[in-house]
């Protein structure tokens, strides 16, 4: 027993010295444990008779979505119609309806939120109508259609888009943004379908010998799984200061055409599908090679000006667009100040039409018959068009 005493004392001392410590926090190799992020959360406020899931997108404030920019969402969340409208899901009451939303694992930065109600207009509108058909995985299904209700995080007084900033505290921990309100209202109902188009012009563009390539775009009506019925191209004169007088920025005496806009961008080579090339010169630096392109205004001005040559007060639909693509490549990493490139990189280029509602359409897309069947979409031959620059 005599020998037991020091033994027991040692035991007790060992336990007292190490027995009560809480385990240390030691992140494992799991990537999420080694990053610091926060969240943006708040409520959706919907005043609408439309019914459908609410989709909320998170954008980098420096890279906003169309029509202000060409940014793509960093993340999105879905608030289901059941959660949002509850017992009113089966009626057409205007609300307001509220439901919580959250965007998780948001790193420090400046963001803006946009969204829409992916409405099932067939509930209340006779054909043609749209069921809830948003699908983020395909460019032809990833944007709102006619009848969807737009929304976003906006300043309640000015209705200007609200910039949301995730900041960090003194220890470097990002601070969550809570209480953010994202509003949707029938007043922001999307008026048209997307500017789906086609062209019958040749694909080839010999940039070294041809200074300008012309493409004639006409609306492409699609039915079935991808349902787009554009009534034409929604054309609008520029009036940046909203004084009712069309702008003439280049001073050519003709009003400028503000919408739609055309982007011709290089596609990646050697990868399946049609993916933008973000590093065309393979130098490891991201870039965005575009060709200088725009609408030929003269045919449009005929529709936009009245008999006296004065601008019509409203935008108009036109049945076709003539696009001029110059043999001039630009690095558009900074869309505000694109940098001319010395040569036009040969390869495949896409043509994207961007209308004033922020809706876009791009050729080529997943309706290319070579791609469509594999992903369960209807193949449409015209949607396989790709500009081949030599």
């Amino acid at each position: 027993m005599k020998r037991a005493l020091p033994f027991l004392a040692f035991t007790l001392a060992s336990l007292l010295s190490g027995g009560c410590d809480a385990p240390d926090v030691v992140p494992t190799a799991d990537g999420r444990q080694n990053t610091r992020s926060a969240r943006i959360e708040g409520n959706l406020v919907v005043q609408s008779r439309a019914r459908g899931n609410a989709i909320v997108f998170l954008y980098d404030a420096a890279n906003p979505p169309p029509p202000a920019g060409s940014g793509r969402p960093l993340a999105f969340t879905v608030v289901t119609a059941e959660e949002l409208f509850g017992a009113s899901l089966g009626d057409t009451s205007p609300g307001p309806f509220t439901a919580p939303f959250a965007l998780s694992l948001v790193e420090p930065g400046r963001y803006l939120l946009r969204g829409f109600i992916d409405a099932d207009t067939c509930r209340s509108v006779p054909q043609p109508c749209h069921v809830s058909d948003f699908n983020p995985w395909y460019s032809v299904t990833a944007e709102p259609n006619a009848g969807d209700v737009g929304g976003g995080a906006v300043d309640p007084l000015t209705s200007a888009t609200r910039i949301l900033e995730i900041t960090t505290d003194a220890d470097g921990w990002p601070q969550p943004l809570t209480g953010v309100s994202v509003s949707f209202a029938d007043s922001a109902t999307v008026p048209f379908d997307r500017p789906a188009f086609q062209t019958a012009d040749p694909r080839e563009f010999a940039a070294s010998t041809t200074p300008t390539k012309l493409l004639t775009l006409t609306p492409q009506v699609l039915t079935g799984a991808v349902d787009q019925r554009p009534p034409g191209f929604w054309v609008q004169l520029a009036d940046a200061n909203k004084d009712g007088v069309p702008d003439d920025a280049n001073g050519d005496g003709k009003p400028d055409i503000a919408w739609p806009r055309v982007i011709v961008r290089k596609l990646a080579e050697g990868v399946p599908g049609y993916v933008d090339d973000t590093d065309h010169d393979r130098d490891g630096q991201p870039d965005a090679v575009v060709l200088a392109a725009g609408l030929v205004p003269d045919p449009l001005l005929v529709a936009l000006l009245d008999e006296q040559g004065k601008p019509r007060p409203q935008p108009v639909f036109v049945p076709q667009l003539l696009v001029a693509i110059r043999a001039q490549a630009l690095d558009a990493r900074d869309p505000a100040a694109p940098t001319p490139l010395a040569t036009v990189p040969p390869g495949r280029y896409s043509v994207t039409l961007l209308q004033s509602t922020g809706q876009t359409w791009r050729l080529p897309n997943e309706l290319d018959p070579a791609l469509a069947e594999a992903v369960g979409l209807p193949g449409v031959a015209s949607q396989a068009f790709v500009l081949e620059v030599r």
């Binding site: 494992t28 190799a29 999420r32 998780s104 699908n135 369960g376």
Partner: protein, 853 residues
């Protein structure tokens, strides 16, 4: 540690080592004394021989030793001592007590007769009797009953002698133990692999015996597989506080501790999160959880203090045990009811806020024996993955984020013996526990807060044994941490398994000696799990036969065949899996067995692999999920194995060893496929309100893997006071993939594993044990959402450095047979991780108190 400190500590250790008479590995040392004793007795050196036997008995009591002491005294003509020894033997309540009591009665009659006919003073003892100097034979039985008892005893003795002779190639080797009528057949819980034979309770005292390799008791030398036995003494001296820690000593065992209660154990490679290729049994009852395909080690309803021994069969076991015994079988055998102390209280406390209390009680009332136990344990994690109060992740499930495991359990095991060879055992237990588990794919650390329960009945009717059990698990199983705002996964699980089996064993002579085992088995599984597409139910049936055929004296062939019917094995329809095995065991000289084996084994698809439909949230994109789906047309994972082995022992030197070389060819491994896009019409999951990035489905890999390895283990107790265990394993896994770099399974298997342990036990009051296990570095290929685009899943190679696990224990008996204390050091090798996503393991010290009033 500076040199003077090291010197002082070394001197202290040396002082302790030299302070008292010591004992080494008890079984080896007792065996050494026993063999020496029997040899001396054979040479008529009765006093010295009996002293050796007494020494063996003192080290490790074995009823058969008492019997042999009695026989030696009887042969020496010392009837008083013989009678005393027989009575000591009877006090151990042997099953043949009736026969031995008759023997005692006869000896007492002989003694009385001898006293009555005592010679005149000065006459030489024995001269009035036979010329051999032995006492007079007992008088003829006076009753029919006594005659029958004597006839039975003689028949048993003759059989035992013949059996012992057949086990030894050298007739002059100690045969006396073979005459032991010790307890050989009475079952504690019925099944042959269910702990019916304590490790040293066979015909030959201190012979290492196993029941798992052939589903019947046999010498480990006769086992057709590489076998490792971990005894209760090993457990006590090791310093290990969990079952997986103990298994590090098994050559070829991959033990991957993820958390204090979470470990994955495999044999001969192929370890992974949710290790699923080793069948774990507790007294012959499976602990494999079919819904996920894993063993929840912290959920086992038993504690270390209840274990009699652990038998580890390295290599395929499907020929006897069917599905999931692909790389081996770990059979945990608990103490037979009624074989321990009336009460044993244990308490442990230490690092990580560890608290444990346990109680075990054995008892007997007539033919009824029981063991009852209850325990509680809780322990903090080694490390936490996330801090509290983070703005992005929040704790789910258990309220205490530090808690690694917690459990309260109770067991009752009873056996009622009607007569020799006829017994019924009923046992049951319940375990309410919380622990960590680590699932597959993008899933990380989970908790399981569940209730485990079982009930089991064993019936032994001579050659026929019946067994039925029910296993239950229900509770919550979900991620410990989830991104705030992200959709939570469902967590409910309820699993029930009903199993019934019948075994028949018979020996006969036909061109040699045959020992045939035949069994049939049926199993119903019902699983309700929120990860599955519905409540699922499967019924499995199986039959097996094994013939252990001794063709000639040193050579035995063991032929085994099992067929399992599984409801999905034929492309989603009921199909069968066949598992043949052929083994040869050659024992040219005593104490050496050479074995060769060719076998197949399989693992059946789990419920998770067959029926899952689980949209897993993609981190950082709350509107997106990745769909994981089961596959009902999976083929079972298959293994073809070749093995050569040499098992040997040198009792006089206190030495055992085992060497094994093997080649395993594994195909049809089941794994998650790369993410495949879904058709546009299937992209939205209305159940979760999320868009499905794609689908990852359980599929059979096309690759064929070849694992080659060598394992060696040695136990030595050369001198009193020192026991040494060491093992080494080398393994190389290759595949037929064109690029070796694509073989994640190959890089995840450590090439070398080394184990060394030293134990020292003084005869009076001190015990020391220290062991170290070294594992070489590995590279784990795991799925990880891309940092730049979370909707893309990348395969990331994570390097895991080599590590060494060191455990130690110092024990002190304060009051002999009453109070003992111990200090245990766990993971003394310092901080390391055993999987890229596992806890950062830190050293802990525990204090133990054991009271046996």
């Amino acid at each position: 540690m500076n040199p003077p400190t090291a010197f002082r500590r070394g001197a202290l250790l040396a002082l302790c080592l030299c302070a008292t008479e010591a004992l080494a590995d008890a079984r080896l040392e007792a065996r050494r004394h026993f063999r020496n004793g029997m040899s001396l007795i054979e040479q008529k050196n009765f006093d010295e021989g009996i002293a050796e036997l007494e020494a063996a008995y003192a080290i490790k009591p074995h009823p058969s030793v008492l019997y042999n002491i009695a026989r030696a005294y009887q042969d020496a003509g010392r009837l008083d001592e013989a009678l005393d020894a027989y009575k000591r033997y009877l006090a151990s309540n042997p099953p043949d007590a009736t026969n031995v009591q008759a023997q005692v009665t006869r000896l007492e009659a002989t003694r009385q007769a001898a006293q009555a006919e005592a010679p005149e003073p000065g006459a030489q003892p024995g001269t009035a009797g036979s010329a051999t100097g032995l006492p007079m034979p007992p008088p003829p039985p006076t009753s029919i009953q006594a005659q029958q008892q004597l006839a039975t005893l003689m028949e048993r003795l003759e059989k035992a002698v013949a059996r012992a002779e057949s086990m030894s190639a050298q007739p002059q080797a100690p045969q006396q133990p073979a005459a032991t009528p010790g307890p050989t057949t009475v079952s504690s819980s019925g099944g042959g692999e269910s702990g019916d034979t304590s490790g040293d309770q066979g015909l030959v005292p201190y012979e290492e015996r196993v029941v798992t390799a052939s589903r019947r008791a046999q010498s480990s030398l006769e086992a057709p597989n590489a076998t490792t036995v971990i005894t209760a003494e090993d457990i006590r001296l090791s310093g290990a506080t969990t079952l997986p820690e103990l298994l590090r000593r098994v050559p070829g065992a991959d033990v991957m501790a993820m958390g204090v209660g979470s470990a994955n154990v495999s044999l001969r490679g192929f370890n992974q999160r949710l290790a699923n290729k080793v069948l774990v049994l507790v007294d012959g009852r499976t602990e494999y959880q079919d819904f996920l395909g894993l063993t929840v080690w912290a959920g086992l309803p038993i504690g270390l203090e209840e274990i009699d021994r652990i038998e580890v069969i390295r290599g395929p076991g499907s020929a006897l045990y069917g599905a999931n015994a692909m790389l081996g079988v770990i059979n945990i055998i608990t103490q037979a009811p009624g074989t321990g102390r009336r009460a044993r209280f244990g308490a442990m406390a230490g690092g990580g806020n560890t608290v444990q209390g346990s109680f075990v009680s054995h008892g007997q009332n007539g033919g009824l024996r029981y063991r009852a136990s209850a325990a509680y344990r809780q322990e903090d994690k080694w490390s936490r993955d996330y801090e509290s109060g983070r703005p992005d992740f929040a704790l789910q499930g258990p309220a205490d984020p530090d808690l690694g495991q917690r459990g309260a359990r109770a067991n009752l095991s009873t056996v009622y013996t009607f007569q020799e060879g006829q017994a019924i055992g009923v046992s049951g237990g319940v375990h309410r526990y919380l622990t960590e588990i680590y699932p597959l794919g993008l899933l990380r650390n989970y908790y399981i807060d569940g209730l485990g329960a079982y009930a089991k009945a064993d019936v032994e009717l001579g050659a026929v044994k019946l067994k039925a059990f029910w296993n239950h698990l229900s509770g919550d199983a979900g991620p410990q941490y989830e991104a705030i705002g992200q959709r939570s996964l469902g967590i409910q699980v309820a699993s029930n398994v009903f199993n019934g089996e019948a075994l028949y064993a018979r020996g006969f002579e036909l061109a040699g000696e045959h020992q045939v085992n035949i069994g049939v088995e049926g199993r119903l599984k019902r699983v309700a799990f929120t990860y599955l597409d519905d409540l699922r139910e499967e019924f499995h049936a199986a039959a097996f036969v094994q013939d252990d055929w001794r063709i000639v004296q040193p050579l035995r062939l063991i032929v085994s065949y099992r067929v399992d019917r599984h409801p999905l094995l034929d492309k989603g329809n009921p199909g069968i899996a066949q598992s043949p095995r052929l083994s040869a065991v050659f024992q040219p000289i005593e104490g050496h067995a050479f074995r060769a084996s060719v076998a197949t084994a399989f693992r059946e698809p789990t419920f998770l692999e067959s029926y899952t439909r689980l949209p897993v949230p993609v981190p950082g994109v709350n509107g997106v999920s990745l769909l994981t789906t089961g596959n009902r047309t999976l083929r079972p994972e298959r293994l073809n194995a070749l093995e050569l082995g040499w098992r040997g022992e040198s009792p006089r030197l206190g030495l055992d060893w085992d060497v094994a070389l093997y080649q395993n060819t594994v195909k049809d491994l089941i794994a998650l496929s790369p993410v495949q896009s879904l058709p546009a019409g299937e992209s939205y999951d209305s159940g979760t309100g999320s868009y499905l990035l794609g689908r990852s489905m359980f599929t059979n890999e096309a690759a064929i893997y070849t694992a080659r390895g060598v394992e060696a283990g040695i136990n030595v107790s050369p001198i009193d006071g020192l026991g040494v265990k060491a093992s080494a394993a080398y393994q190389h896994i290759s595949s037929d993939l064109p690029d070796e770099g694509q073989c994640g399974t190959c890089s995840q298997t450590p090439a070398f594993r080394l184990f060394g342990g030293v134990t020292y036990r003084t005869r009076t009051d001190l015990e020391f044990g220290i062991e170290a296990a070294f594992t070489t570095s590995t590279t784990w290929v795991e799925r990880e959402p891309s940092a730049s685009d979370p909707t893309r899943v990348d395969l990331i190679a994570n390097n895991l450095p080599a590590y060494t696990v060191v455990n130690a224990r110092v024990g002190y008996t304060v009051v002999k047979d009453f109070v003992s204390v111990a200090l245990q050091g766990s993971q003394l090798g310092g901080g390391h991780a055993e999987h890229p996503f596992g806890n950062r393991i830190e050293r802990r010290v525990f204090a133990n108190l054991t009271v046996t009033p």
